[in-house]
Symmetry: C2
Subunit: 353 residues, 2 copies
């Protein structure tokens, strides 16, 4: 029994397997791909030979020969926790659609342009970009070459597909929940120029307006990080609304931390609502009430859209798919204390950072 274990050096190829099985190369190819055109006996023999040689198909050669690479490029931010959830979902969806994923990370030393360039060289057939900061014009240029699906950021250009959470609706949910609890003085810590921040700000204003609370609006400058939230918390302590909606969970965590340290009880003195339902929010000692984005649905739709564009079947016409979020109520929201509910919030439209 010749033990030809796979060792460092030349890789085993179809030809090696063919030689060992005593058949032609194309026939081995047929067997390896489970394509029709080989007898059961041959399949058996070829599989055995491949197994013994530790054969692994070369995806590069395969893609080179096929007209299609069945490869979808994904650009993600290595620092952003939510992108982790999205990447997980993308793998699942791509797998089901029989596509491969090529990951390209954006890091402090590697910008989006480089990340995209490397995917182009890998001959991806479509691009899925998670919360890209690239200008719309460049996205449009890319979209002229290949299907481009932008996730979690609105893009006003008919050439690119967009799958995103309905950010405005998310803030409606948050505000409605707080109003239901009896709050009237509800502030918002915003996300500055972050993707989605403008939509959430708008949703907040609309929702307040809808409840006849427009004159109670208080928008405090925030950002994406815990530090931004901590800074915002100081303004909140001065203004003393009874509840606050925060741009995202990270920022909300910063808000929570400072509030509690300064003796403001949550939810006793102030209710707090986040956005994302990240792992942070789920921690039992944080237990943040938050607006959940449906990562599984978003990623499934993103892949489905990429595949639809590639297969060219009935190219869907709405370029933007907006997914409704849902509210996850945990322990940072409650009815306002009776003595706090009445007093009016100090009105500050936008205070300077």
């Amino acid at each position: 029994m010749t033990e030809e274990l796979p060792v460092r050096g030349r890789r085993t190829t179809l030809a090696d397997v063919a030689a060992r099985a005593g058949v032609s190369v194309p026939l081995v190819s047929i067997v390896m791909r489970d394509a029709p055109g080989a007898s059961a006996a041959t399949r058996e023999r070829v599989r055995k030979a491949a197994e013994e040689l530790g054969y692994r198909p070369d995806s590069r050669a395969r893609m080179l020969r096929r007209s299609r690479t069945r490869l979808i490029g994904v650009v993600f931010g290595v620092q952003h926790p939510f992108h982790g959830d999205l990447v997980s979902g993308l793998y699942t969806a791509a797998d089901a659609a029989d596509y491969e994923l090529a990951l390209s990370a954006v890091t402090p030393g590697r910008d989006e342009r480089r990340a995209v360039a490397s995917l182009l060289q890998d001959r991806c057939e479509a691009l899925i970009l998670l919360g890209p900061a690239l200008p719309t014009s460049e996205l449009a240029d890319l979209a002229a070459r290949m299907p481009v699906i932008v996730v979690a950021r609105p893009v006003r250009n008919r050439a690119v597909d967009v799958v995103r959470t309905d950010d405005a609706a998310g803030l409606h949910l948050a505000v409605d929940h707080l109003v239901d609890l009896g709050h009237t003085r509800i502030a918002h810590v915003d996300g500055g120029r972050a993707p989605g921040a403008a939509e959430r700000r708008r949703g907040y204003r609309e929702a307040l307006d809808h409840h006849g609370l427009a004159d109670q609006a208080l928008i405090v400058p925030g950002g994406l990080t815990e530090d931004d939230g901590a800074a915002a918390a100081r303004e909140l302590i001065a203004a003393r609304p009874t509840a606050v909606t925060v741009f995202n969970d990270r920022c909300a965590t910063g808000v929570l931390d400072v509030l509690r340290r300064e003796g403001v009880a949550v939810p006793g003195d102030m209710s707090v609502v986040g956005f994302d339902d990240s792992s942070l929010a789920r921690l039992s000692h944080v237990a943040l009430t938050t607006v959940a984005q449906d990562a599984g649905r978003i990623t499934a739709l993103a892949v489905a859209r990429a595949v639809a564009r590639l297969d060219g079947d009935a190219a869907a016409d709405e370029r933007e798919q907006v997914i409704p979020p849902h509210l996850v109520v945990r322990s940072t929201t409650a009815a306002p204390r009776a003595d706090l509910a009445a007093a009016p919030a100090r009105r500050v439209r936008t205070s300077s950072a």
Copy 2:
């Protein structure tokens, strides 16, 4: 002027560029690779043609033809924040060494075996695994096929290279710092079976022993997450050491949160030291004193080792490179209060969860 903008459909190839420039295909290849063997005038002409056609080399064809792919596979956990720092560093190091990176993520639905398998099909020449959970035997099998560099986890097998932080030394730093401040009753919240946890536990014991404090040892079961830390904090509140070293920053954050909420002042009543110097620790409102792993150095060494194995030049013989960490002192450590410094810590070797 023929505007042959790159449009969806067939990609432009070397042949297209060659035709437009009126030269042979290999000559274009030479120009695109900046290889010697073309006149300045030709280079000029070819570059112009390539530019006009929006030509991008096909990395798959390139790798297929070259004997070398110059591709290093990286397996990382999409949820682990520290892996983000490592991936960033790997890109930088690979770039400098003129290698490409192929990323393969481990997600809840995609285990390490799958992640590795896809990299093998991509014909990576070496593998860098971040904190892999794979059994040593499988790592050794892999290492028989190609250079394998394991990062951030000790592996007792001469076939694989290891680059990791000196975890035990990290706990020496932490304990020494606390002893210098005057602490004698120092507890440790451990990481269970997480990579590095055993080493850190050992370092903690050694350091206490070194200061003649062995009989004060108190190890509380913890874990990797904030929740684990929160649970451990309750035990700490009962035992009341004046200081605690925690497995990692995430867990330490959980400890901090509960301590503060239960009215235990940090660092007034209890000092806390983390491990990782993750972005969490750096947050101004957390300001955690912590043991910093040198991600830049670790990744540089990991790539350097992979390259050394591949180039076969003077294959370094120590398979394990242990990098000393350093202490970052922030605001969660201080001298113990005079009335607390004297009393002995309750002695619990390992309490049950």
